[in-house]
Symmetry: C2
Subunit: 249 residues, 2 copies
DNA sequence: CGACGCTTTGAGGAGATTCAAGACACGTGG
DNA sequence: CCACGTGTCTTGAATCTCCTCAAAGCGTCG
């Protein structure tokens, strides 16, 4: 594990903390008041780096705290009984990792960088401190955890849809997440491979490729390797709401 | 909504409360100390009844509190954009409902009785009271919510398995849950239809039927309508761990 | 430039769905 | 108590979607 690197700049302007971080609307501080964010800022280790393919934490290892990605992306994976990898989620810049270890104090998943990442680390023992002091954070974490419930239902819904609907939904979801963080919603680079997309969606990587091609031929998107441009967002959206009209009741 | 019926017996022996309830190991009180259970017992409305097909709560309605089933079973459902029903989970006696409304203060799902149910109701405003007083309950709820995370991964795993593996897993899961609550683990009655099982597992009801028949012909189970007897639990278990050796990497 | 990994594309096949028809179970009323 | 009707369950056959295997194309990085 690398030691956390605390900025040594004396001028506060140049020091990025939770208070002036541009990700504050999406990160852990979301929902906390100004004072609490200040408290939080003192607890966070910034500027941790991992290269592509390196793990941020491992399944089974003791909970070390929550992670907020400042740049780069990661995949959150789990392994089945036969050691097959299952990609539980992709994590984009500004998103938070670590919920899989919060309750049991042991990480259930392994987090691996898909490209070079820079992240902030809120240590576990400091989370405990905050939990006993601030009922606000407590409530916040509860809320965050419960929103997992919604995500689960969303995923169950997707799992009974066709491969085309899954891919459409995947593209729109990534687009939306980029948009919310101030990146272009219509043109972006996928940091994960077709294999990884397929794994996450429960379809073969060849199928992902074929459907990307299909969408391109239908003028819905333009794909060139990992670069994606969404041409017809509306139609892409229709793709996965309209097509299941005669699905099971 | 029916008014809660509080027992009018004067003798404490005849009054079932959280303190002497046989479900205390599985219900909300799990993990609370004796004093806290006593507190809880004062807050709970008991003996609420719903008939088969009736809703216990509706998606979109304000969070009214947590529900613990004392007898009977229910299904927790959600609806997709086209109004198709998705069965998120089945709830067996002694299990707790309502997590889908805890964070947002609005139920995300609809809970419907699969047969006559008798349930206890812990009102929402009393949960709030307890949350500000007892950090223990707070922590407990957080833990419960986080365990949703595990369930989600488990379900994602299942969703890339074959129909046979899904059905095997379903039977074993129900069996395990009955066992934990003191019912026979090898012989039980399924309160849900083939249609509902299929919906929950993401397969057609005909497929469920066919696989029940297949398992019977392999001497793994005996099925007669809704009555199920597990003959070879071990082999049934192998069925869904062994069969995916050459699944996707 | 050559090697390796990722992506694309094709062909064949397996598994699950859909549609359709018949069997069975359960509740109702005669 | 039996006949009847409705809804659930079973079973078969045809079809379709997606997977698997295989090979070729493309990109990237030393």
């Amino acid at each position: 594990m690398t030691a956390s690197i605390v900025s040594k700049t004396s001028s506060t302007q140049n020091t990025v903390t939770c208070i002036n971080c541009n990700l504050d609307k999406f990160c852990i501080p979301k929902g906390l008041d100004h004072f609490e964010i200040g408290e939080l800022a003192l607890l966070v280790n910034r500027n941790n780096i991992r290269q592509k393919g390196e793990a941020i934490y491992h399944a089974g290892s003791p909970f070390r705290g929550m992670i907020a990605l400042r740049s780069g992306s990661a995949k959150l994976i789990s392994f089945d009984a036969n050691g097959n990898e299952l990609i539980v989620d992709f994590i984009l810049p500004g998103e938070v990792l670590g919920f899989d270890g919060l309750a049991t104090q042991t990480y259930n998943c392994t987090a691996i960088a898909l490209e070079t990442v820079n992240y902030c680390h809120l240590p576990a023992h400091k989370i405990d401190e905050m939990l006993t002091q601030s009922s606000c954070l407590n409530h916040l974490l509860l809320q965050r955890s419960c929103s997992q419930f919604d995500a689960q239902i969303e995923r169950m819904m997707l799992n009974r849809r066709s491969a085309e609907e899954r891919v459409a939904s995947f593209l729109l979801q990534i687009s939306e997440r980029f948009k919310q963080r101030g990146y272009s919603e219509l043109e972006f680079r996928l940091s994960m491979s077709r294999e990884e997309i397929g794994n996450h969606l429960g379809i073969a990587h060849e199928t992902v490729s074929r459907i990307f091609h299909l969408f391109q031929s239908k003028q819905l998107i333009e794909v060139r390797s990992k670069q994606v441009k969404i041409i017809d967002k509306k139609e892409l959206f229709n793709y996965y709401t309209t097509y299941s009209l005669n699905s099971q009741k």
